[in-house]
């Protein structure tokens, strides 16, 4: 089939302009804490109704790709994830910025994001129909096993296992607020209708990371210390790139795979990749102190999810998350139904979308690298003004998602919680993971059991389920084994002291 005729319309100046604008807009939206890619796409989708199909959808894809990338900018510079997908980038990104390497951190993040995005774009274009069938293999038991495996990351992330477990359990408990997924009964709402649907995830996350960070900053706000951070260089050295190359490949594969499974998301992908990279690394203790592979891992994974999520959408007509659901709406209003027939009846649209996904990633790379010097200038803004601006965007962003004032209370509540957690050494990352994966684990566990009439053997019968269930205890045991290995190393390193006594 002559694909070239479908690619050339996308390369026309107006479509390229629209993709560039979308990507740039997405980067800005993603970078501002409080505004997310999802919101950007949802707000701008009506604008695309009047445009012709490929043009309008290309712009949305640009916003999606740019938005997921943009979150890393604020994660690295101000310890505040711009989007939920980049929450994991804070762990190594911010310490690097504090060490004066903000530019390099942003450079690595941009390269990793582009690598992940381009990888999944290529996978999407070549293997979409084949991979789509993988999406279908995930039923309730598989989702439960995946979520359980994801939850074990909490064990490795938190310095103090007990505190991490407590944070995780609190997260799961908080995720139970709202409607019971199986019976529909309202839980823990105390009769307050505003919480009938539980805590809205994005405002909770904004509160947990951004608002709590604002509270922390408020303690020192009047000591307007001159930013000690320098922006040294933008391109990571060749050695650093080589160090992270394997990580980026890992992140791209995991991200694409998770993107294909509907409903899991970029946040989970970046956490899982971070954890796996740390496990595979020869120097796991460096992670969390400003280690480049940490950034490479999270950013390549979360951008790879974008391409992956388009696989079930285009090949099966199954949207994996809110953004792809909006894209599906966009397709349908143009009279196009995504699904296996779309490839046969409208190959132009499909190839057009693959191409714009690819191009959007290229634009993202260019704008990202070019803009790093400007992004980093944010650090020179006096803390007082910066904090106020961030707070403003958090409020606007949280409210704009659902136009529901309850979301603002959620944001503030989680902000206070996050502040308390930081003060007492509890991992906010653990709570975040639990908030994402808790509902997925609970709903699917109960659905799965309902499906097999509580027969545990039948529950565990599928290969994918068994795979993740087997990985779970390994993942849990790993930090304990690590501690023991470290203790052994320490004991071996000081034999002289022992002989003295």
């Amino acid at each position: 089939m002559d694909y070239f005729q479908y690619i050339t319309p996308v390369l026309s100046p107006e479509v390229l302009l629209v993709i560039a604008l979308g990507t740039l807009g997405g980067i800005v939206i993603g970078a501002l804490p409080g505004l997310t890619a999802t919101m950007g796409v949802a707000l701008l989708v009506p604008m695309t109704f009047g445009m012709e199909t490929v043009k309008g959808l290309s712009m949305l894809i640009g916003i999606y790709v740019g938005g997921i990338y943009g979150g890393c900018i604020s994660s690295i510079l101000i310890k505040t994830p711009g989007t939920p997908a980049s929450a994991a980038t804070v762990l190594d990104g911010y310490p690097m910025a504090m060490k004066g390497q903000a530019g390099k951190a942003l450079g690595m993040a941009t390269i990793a994001s582009a690598a992940g995005g381009l990888f999944s774009a290529v996978v999407l274009a070549t293997l979409a129909p084949q991979l789509a069938s993988v999406a279908l293999r995930f039923g309730p038991t598989e989702y439960f096993a995946l979520a359980l495996f994801g939850l074990t990351i909490i064990a490795s992330l938190s310095g103090d296992l007990v505190k991490g477990a407590m944070a995780g359990m609190l997260g799961v408990l908080l995720s139970c607020v709202g409607a019971d997924p199986i019976s529909g009964a309202a839980r823990y709402t105390f009769g307050y209708t505003g919480f009938a649907a539980g805590f809205s995830f994005t405002p909770a996350l904004i509160g947990l990371f951004a608002i709590s960070e604002i509270f922390v900053q408020l303690e020192n706000i009047f000591e307007d210390r001159v930013a000690m951070v320098k922006v040294s260089g933008v391109w990571p050295t060749l050695a650093e790139l080589r160090e992270s190359a394997g990580t980026m490949l890992r992140g791209s594969i995991i991200g694409t795979a998770i993107g294909i499974v509907p409903g899991v998301g970029s946040g989970t992908a970046s956490w899982i990749t971070y954890n796996e990279t740390r496990r595979a690394s020869k120097t796991p203790e460096k992670f969390g102190t400003g280690h480049m592979p940490g950034i490479a891992a999270t950013e390549s994974a979360n951008n790879a999810v974008c391409g992956g999520a388009l696989v079930p959408l285009l090949a099966l007509g199954i949207p994996g998350d809110v953004v792809t659901a909006v894209l599906m709406g966009g397709l349908m209003i143009h009279g196009l139904a995504p699904g296996p027939l779309l490839f046969q009846e409208n190959p132009g649209v499909v190839v057009g979308l693959f191409t714009s996904n690819f191009i959007a990633n290229l634009f993202m790379f260019v704008f990202g690298m070019a803009g790093i010097a400007y992004f980093a200038k944010i650090l020179l803004v006096p803390k007082k003004i910066l904090t106020i601006c961030i707070a403003l965007f958090c409020f606007i962003g949280s409210y704009a998602i659902n136009l529901n004032p309850v979301d603002l209370y959620t944001m503030l509540g989680f902000g206070v919680l996050g502040y308390g957690m930081q003060k007492f050494g509890f991992s906010q990352a653990a709570l975040c993971i639990a908030l994402i994966l808790g509902p997925m684990a609970e709903a699917n566990l109960r659905l799965g059991l309902l499906n097999v009439d509580n027969d545990i053997l039948r529950f565990c019968s599928s290969p994918i389920t068994l795979l993740f269930l087997a990985l779970t205890p390994l993942s849990l045991a790993w930090p304990i084994l690590q501690e023991r290995r470290a203790k052994k190393k320490a004991a071996l390193a000081t034999p002289s002291q022992e002989t003295r006594t």
């Binding site: 009506p46 199986i182 529909g184 209708t193 199954i318 709406g329 349908m332 699904g339 659902n402």
Partner: protein, 327 residues
């Protein structure tokens, strides 16, 4: 800095002045944009239909009509906002069946179906049962036979506990004297995906959601909950034919809070009537796969009330009545 401050002061005064001047111009309705609140996220069926309607309505109403999304609470938050708004004709809502007929029966909702002024029914969403490719039944008769032979084992997915699809399948089971296993998923898409993957045997959903999967041969529509056969599936039997005394369809339309001034209401109703007969509008909706079944105010209200009574019976039977009410 001083100039900046005085600039801001000037803008504030101007804005204040405009705000004060506006009510004086309480002239022709609509004097400002009319908003239709959609209680679901952008991009969904109701949202898209509302947006297309808004475009058409603008021409007949003579003013701007915008759509505002206020999702949450299964549609209750947006619906509540509509019903608590000032009844001046500038805030309308998409009266969807779920939030109006079902949610109030579960309790914990701050409005009731009696607070609604039904303006116009837009369309109905048929309720069909579709079987997966590898399900142990290929048509309605086999479905019923299988259900009777394996009570409580036949898994049918739905879009969520207490939703229209759930109530519909439970009502059908009651009327057909069979026991099914309802599997509530987080939305139709998740339920349909699970059926496609063979994790559950059937799913109850609306035709547009199933269309491309049926065309691709991955799902098989076996039953329609109507009393007459439908054009999209001329070979699929209806519940009426099978001797099951139960039909159900979800619907959506335009509602307003009670208490609209008579002239405003008349204007709205007439504009809506014209919109629903506009050929351009009908074509766009058809392309989107939406069934337009326009009914004026009284017929709409009658349908809603009838469904509310049936729903109450089913909801009481499955034990969900008032489960969320303040005790």
């Amino acid at each position: 800095m001083k100039r900046f401050a005085s600039g801001i002061a000037a803008v504030c005064l101007a804005g204040f002045g405009l705000a004060v001047a506006a009510p004086a111009q309480a002239a022709e309705y609509p004097a400002r944009p009319v908003q239709i609140i959609v209680p679901y996220n952008a991009g969904g069926g109701t949202d898209l239909a509302a947006r297309v309607l808004a475009q058409t309505l603008e021409q007949y109403l003579g003013g701007t009509v915008i759509v505002r999304n206020q999702p949450g609470g299964g549609g209750s938050i947006g619906t509540s906002a509509t019903l608590h708004a000032k009844p001046d004709g500038y805030t309308l809502g998409t009266g969807s069946q779920g939030p109006l007929v079902m949610l109030p029966q579960y309790g914990g909702i701050d409005y009731a179906i009696d607070d609604v002024d039904f303006l116009a029914l837009m369309g109905r969403n048929l309720m069909v049962i579709a079987a997966g490719k590898d399900a142990p039944f290929k048509n309605a008769k086999e479905f019923l036979a299988y259900a009777k032979a394996h009570p409580g084992e036949l898994t049918v997915g739905n879009s969520g506990a207490g939703g229209a699809n759930h109530v519909a399948i439970e009502g059908l089971a009651m009327a057909a004297d069979i026991k099914l296993k309802s599997m509530p998923f987080g939305g139709s898409v998740a339920a349909i995906t699970a059926t496609l993957g063979g994790h559950i045997q059937a799913v109850v959903a609306h035709p547009p959601e199933l269309a491309n999967h049926v065309k691709a041969g991955n799902l098989n529509v076996i039953m329609v909950m109507e009393d007459k056969r439908v054009a999209e599936f001329p070979d699929v039997p209806t519940t009426e034919e099978l001797g099951i005394d139960f039909t159900w369809a979800a619907w959506k339309g335009i509602i307003a809070p009670k208490g609209l001034p008579a002239d405003v209401r008349a204007k709205l109703v007439s504009a809506l009537d014209k919109s629903f007969h506009d050929p351009d509008f009908l074509k766009k909706m058809k392309d989107m796969g939406e069934d337009i079944d326009y009914r004026p105010s009284d017929a709409y209200k009658a349908l809603a009330m009838k469904d509310s009574a049936v729903a109450q019976k089913v909801i009481r039977a499955i034990g969900m009545y008032n489960m969320n009410a303040k005790k």
